[in-house]
């Protein structure tokens, strides 16, 4: 299967070919790769694509996953609506 047809990050539409190209250009740590390709910044919060990308990067650089670095996980763990923070207030108001 062609690398261009293998989607790694579905939210941001990043393929295996994109990742290999970026590594060639010198984006050889997870934090830089994430920001260059925007991998893991979509609504899935990187739950699928970040572990995959770590493995691809490690394989391409012939390093261990620990050595290519991991990205900081940002809260919230799952997306939540802005409005959720007003609900408590309404209850107290009544």
């Amino acid at each position: 299967m062609n690398d261009k047809d293998i989607i790694i990050c579905r939210c941001e539409d990043v393929t295996l070919a994109d990742i290999k190209e970026a590594i060639k250009e010198g984006y050889t740590d997870m934090e830089s790769l994430k920001r260059h390709l925007q991998i893991g910044t979509g609504p899935c919060q990187g739950k699928t694509c970040i572990p995959l990308t770590e493995k691809i990067l490690a394989r391409e650089l012939k390093k261990s996953v620990e050595d290519v670095g991991i990205v900081t996980a940002r809260p919230p763990e799952s997306p939540i609506p802005f409005g959720i923070f007003l609900k408590g207030d309404k209850k107290n108001g009544k």
Partner: protein, 376 residues
């Protein structure tokens, strides 16, 4: 061991921009050293805003020039920085209008096209805004924003084309000075013989200056930001109300922050208290996004000086050049600061007289220049 004409410490917008303008002036034997990845400090954590609505001659003149340069970057850098002039809409209550009218007067005198508008005009610019309790706004259509990671990426590619090395994950450990002259910068990987060092180390700037015996009056304040899931772009201006600010990036995400009034801290962790506060404030201004999902929050530092203006230019130590203490405005000032510092290194003077007022000396002589409009 390597010989370099200039060693730039810091791979955020300030360091990269300085390297870019040095290279454009023909100084190619330079190096940028970054202890982590590019943009890992305040640049990559910022709120994307670029504004000229300030309250001092220094800030207004520098930002007017920076906006001009942001346009050049958008047109000339090898990748789009997504600079967009969507304006800054600074929402005001009745009792704030007169004060901001004075600020606008100074901005207009200095060539910035801001103006005070009424409530109806606010609605025309952002129809979804809840105008309850507001009187109008200070509006500057030529303000805007850009995308921090694309900016870092664009500068990185431009420097690569100039043949300028960027050394990431490398940390400056020592700066050797002999007979009052810089001799060498020592990192954990290499030694660079040089007489010029640019301190563009953001929140690490104090530590770098201590290596040459200079104490910088900088304090770190943590500020937090949240970003939403992407939706089709409907909000191009940056909206400001009190400490709250928000806009929408070209990628469709609402991004913004507010101030939790924290004490100075060294911690970069995001906190539980931020999202409830930010959500309440943003929904009071833009209630229509109530069901939009928040995706991420993070923290960054404002590296703050006693008068909320940066420290630019030379010091008592010849060749030790500062681009530090932006007090929350480092990203927007990035283009002009890089050009000014490159001019200082190449020609011995920053080409805008107002920039020379922002020297380190002002804290000794007491000639502070207070900025009143700080957001977040």
């Amino acid at each position: 061991m390597e010989n370099k004409d200039v060693v730039i410490v810091g791979g955020g917008i300030t360091g990269l921009s300085t390297a870019y303008y040095l290279a454009k002036e023909g100084a190619k034997n330079i190096v940028v050293i970054e202890k982590s990845y590019l943009g890992s400090g305040s640049t990559g954590r910022c709120g994307t805003g670029i504004r000229q609505q300030f309250t001092t001659r220094e800030h207004i003149i520098l930002m007017r020039e920076s906006v001009k340069l942001w346009k050049e970057w958008e047109n000339n850098l090898p990748k789009s920085v997504h600079f967009r002039q969507g304006g800054y809409l600074w929402i005001l209550k009745e009792n704030e209008i007169d004060t901001y009218r004075e600020y606008v007067r100074l901005q207009n005198i200095l060539g910035v096209n801001s103006r005070i508008i009424n409530k109806d005009d606010v609605k025309l610019i952002v129809p979804d805004i809840n105008t309850d309790g507001i009187a109008g706004a200070s509006w500057c259509p030529s303000d805007g924003n850009a995308y921090p990671f694309d900016t870092v990426d664009a500068l990185r590619i431009a420097l690569k084309q100039f043949g300028i090395p960027i050394r990431q994950f490398e940390e400056v450990k020592e700066i050797k000075v002999e007979n009052g002259i810089i001799q060498q910068v020592i990192t954990n990987k290499e030694k660079f013989n040089t007489h010029f060092v640019v301190n563009a180390a953001g929140f690490g700037a104090r530590k770098i200056a201590h290596m040459v015996g200079i104490d910088l009056p900088l304090k770190l304040y943590r500020h937090q930001i949240a970003v939403s899931e992407p939706v089709k772009v409907f909000l191009e201006p940056m909206v400001v109300k009190g400490e709250l600010y928000f806009t929408q990036t070209y990628r469709g995400r609402i991004i913004g922050g507010t101030d939790l009034d924290e004490q100075s801290t060294e911690s970069l962790s995001s906190t539980d208290g931020f999202l409830p506060q930010f959500a309440k404030e943003i929904l009071s201004v833009l209630p229509t996004i109530s069901s939009l999902n928040v995706m991420r929050q993070w923290a960054g530092f404002y590296v703050v000086t006693p008068d909320h203006h940066p420290i630019l230019g030379g010091t008592d130590l010849p060749g030790f050049v500062l681009g530090v203490g932006f007090s929350g405005h480092g990203f927007m000032l990035g283009p002009v600061v890089g050009k000014l510092l490159a001019a200082y290194i190449m020609h011995g003077t920053m080409y805008l007289p107002e920039a020379n007022n922002l020297n380190l000396e002002r804290f000794r002589s007491g000639r502070l220049i207070q900025e009143k409009a700080v957001i977040g």
